[in-house]
């Protein structure tokens, strides 16, 4: 608790807050230029996020996959790897869960649902590990392989859905069995039928697991050593290559879980997609916002997801067109991500404070 209070008073918290404010001001200027009323728009934005239990529930639904893909990118980054492939891991994880959810039947919920989650998570993990293995064994840059694997993942998922799971006459798979559902109907009822599901709990647990693995276990110690300085890790007798694969595997599990719960918790089916849904790419921004810290990622996802969901309110309540809303969201993200600019803006205040301290 004391730690939390100290953090709120700390420099990085103030900077983040000011960054969000600057982003909103910048967005307001753009809206004024475009001839829209920013105050009405922002009120509509916040109303959309917090306005009703339904909206709060749907905001949480929007945030959940972003936490997981954000953790995926952040985990790899802590190990010195740039995981652009959360998107592909997301899709493969999703497909794994859909497959188990649709094809198996007659199992009780307590077996079927967790099984679908585990299979999906492992599928995502292996998809990530593939990029890690290519880097470890062949030295192929993981940025390139993960980007490629995103496309392969997209088409492979579509192929699997279209060939084995397709409901005739539809562009989507059969519905998953009820026993594989990870929805929370009783909670959803309390939130005006918002699509709440177990994935949110899992995402928050994942942030804790992220922290424990990296900062409490031997494995995490090795992963971080490899991430900061692979040479020193090698000199200290760690198996750098194997750790790269482990790191990408773990990152893939996080991203895979995001996809798993989109199927088991939100849609209950998987469509044949023309393009990736983009949660993996948003995960890069979220991880950046959260400064690769698991709890920062949760906050970053809340910001990103809240803005994304709330933006419909700006469109609906203030008639701001979607294009301008994207600029507004973009400028908030921009300021949070480029903290250097914010610090520069804050410099005069800090200087004055510094002088006062010196006088005292």
């Amino acid at each position: 608790m004391g730690k939390l209070l100290r953090w709120i008073g700390s420099d990085s918290f103030v900077v983040s807050l000011v960054a969000i404010l600057l982003g909103l001001i910048c967005g307001a200027i753009i809206m004024l230029i475009g001839g829209y009323n920013p105050i009405v728009a922002y009120i509509a934005l916040f109303q959309k996020i917090f306005g009703s239990p339904y909206d709060i529930g749907e905001t949480i639904r929007e945030i959940t996959p972003l936490i997981l893909t954000g953790l995926s990118v952040a985990f790899a980054f802590r190990t010195g790897l740039f995981n652009i492939g959360a998107e592909g891991q997301f899709l493969i994880g999703m497909t794994g869960a859909t497959f188990v959810g649709v094809k198996l039947s007659g199992l009780p919920w307590i077996v079927h649902a967790p099984l679908a989650v585990i299979v999906g998570a492992l599928a995502g993990g292996l998809w990530g590990a593939l990029a890690g293995w290519l880097k470890a064994s062949r030295g192929v840059n993981e940025v390139i392989t993960t980007i490629m694997l995103n496309w392969i993942g997209l088409f492979l998922s579509n192929y699997i859905v279209a060939s084995f799971l397709l409901q005739p006459g539809q562009q989507r798979s059969y519905m998953i069995q009820d026993t594989a559902s990870m929805s929370l109907p009783w909670l959803a009822a309390a939130f005006g039928n918002a699509r709440l599901h177990w994935g949110t709990v899992v995402a928050l647990l994942a942030a804790v697991v992220f922290y424990i693995i990296l900062w409490r276990t031997k494995l995490g110690y090795e992963l971080r050593a490899v991430g900061h300085n692979p040479h020193a890790a090698q000199y200290a007798g760690m198996n750098v290559n194997r750790r790269m694969v482990t790191a990408m595997f773990t990152a893939g599990i996080f991203a895979g879980l995001a996809g798993v719960f989109e199927v088991l918790g939100v849609f209950h089916y998987q469509t044949v997609m023309a393009a990736s849904p983009g949660y993996g790419f948003d995960g890069i921004a979220v991880s950046l916002l959260g400064m690769n810290n698991p709890f920062g990622v949760v906050l970053g996802a809340a910001l990103f997801g809240g803005l994304t969901y709330g933006s419909a309110g700006m469109s609906f309540g203030a008639d701001v067109p979607p294009e301008i809303i994207r600029i507004v969201i973009g400028s908030v993200i921009f300021f949070v991500a480029t903290q250097g600019i914010v610090r520069y803006v804050l410099l005069p205040f800090y200087k004055r404070r510094g002088k006062e301290v010196a006088k005292a």
Partner: protein, 297 residues
């Protein structure tokens, strides 16, 4: 009105629907749209309209069917309408098009105008809607020109112009001189390939889809288009609601008779009058029920 990811400037479906809706604005009627950023947005967007007590909520496109059904079931007192899909609920009016009928007429044009007796069809994804285009077109061709052969290619995507271009190139190389596409943006590739060939001095044609595509790609490659009047459909159903005649639980199939599908007036630039006269004959026969055009479910 809730659009899919394309938004109201997609030069296709969503845009056409929004243009229709906008014509009804005024006289106490307010219209508004929400663009979906992903599949997950369909439901919250529809709910936004429901919660603000809109009299009618439109879902544009086949893909929104499941979600529209969920929202309609949860809100039995609100009214919904959907294009291109059939949702079985008391408070939903579904609108589909008899694409097979319009495509039949396109087939008549192609069958009469081909010089090589080889005709192509490029489809998007193999789903019932596209299948209707395919079967209607084939029937039209065979009715006037039993000797013509039709090459078919389903590219598997509505948004991949590169695939469309490749498919068209293969067909034209094999001697096909007219291609009918029913593949959304994938068809842009078909048009591009045809344009390249026309520039190189060959005479090849494309038959467009959904909108009058000669307006976008020019008359030198666009033979005609199989137009789906989404705007007309939106106006029709919305007017019913305004006049208190909402037909929930029913499905409206808009065919030639209802002017929901057809060939645009610009066709006469490239299609000789005698052929257009034949097209008119067939149109009358279809409307009267004398000809039954095959369809798909």
């Amino acid at each position: 009105m809730v659009t899919d990811i394309g938004g109201v400037n997609d030069k296709s479906f969503n845009q056409s629907a929004w243009e229709g809706l906008k014509k009804l604005e005024g006289n106490g009627v307010t219209v508004k749209y929400l663009q979906s950023k992903s599949d997950a947005d369909y439901i919250p967007n529809m709910n936004t309209f429901v919660k603000d007590n809109y009299d009618l909520v439109w879902g544009i496109g086949f893909l929104m069917g499941d979600q529209l059904k969920t929202v309609a079931t949860q809100n039995p007192n609100s009214k919904f309408a959907i294009i291109d899909n059939v949702v079985d609920a008391k408070n939903v009016e579904s609108v589909t098009f008899a694409e097979n009928e319009g495509s039949f007429l396109a087939g008549v044009v192609a069958g009469l105008m081909t010089k090589t007796n080889k005709i192509g069809f490029v489809g998007g994804v193999d789903i019932p809607v596209i299948k209707r285009f395919d079967l209607g077109f084939e029937a039209g061709v065979k009715a006037v020109n039993p000797n013509a052969t039709i090459t078919k290619n389903y590219t598997g995507a509505f948004d991949k112009p590169d695939l469309g271009k490749a498919a068209a190139a293969t067909m034209y190389n094999a001697g096909v001189d007219i291609i009918f596409h029913a593949s959304g943006a994938t068809g842009n590739g078909v048009f591009n390939e045809a344009k390249d060939r026309v520039k190189a001095g060959k005479k090849v044609w494309v038959i467009g889809v959904d909108k009058d595509q000669s307006l976008e790609y020019g008359d030198d490659v666009t033979l005609t288009s199989m137009v789906k009047r989404v705007d007309e459909a939106v106006i029709r159903v919305t007017k019913d609601v305004i006049n208190g005649q909402f037909k929930g639980g029913t499905t409206q199939v808009l065919g030639l008779k209802e002017d929901g599908v057809g060939l645009p007036d610009t066709s006469k630039k490239n299609v000789p009058a005698d052929i257009l006269a034949k097209v008119d004959d067939y149109k009358k026969k279809i409307i009267s029920g004398e000809i039954k055009v095959p369809t798909a479910q």
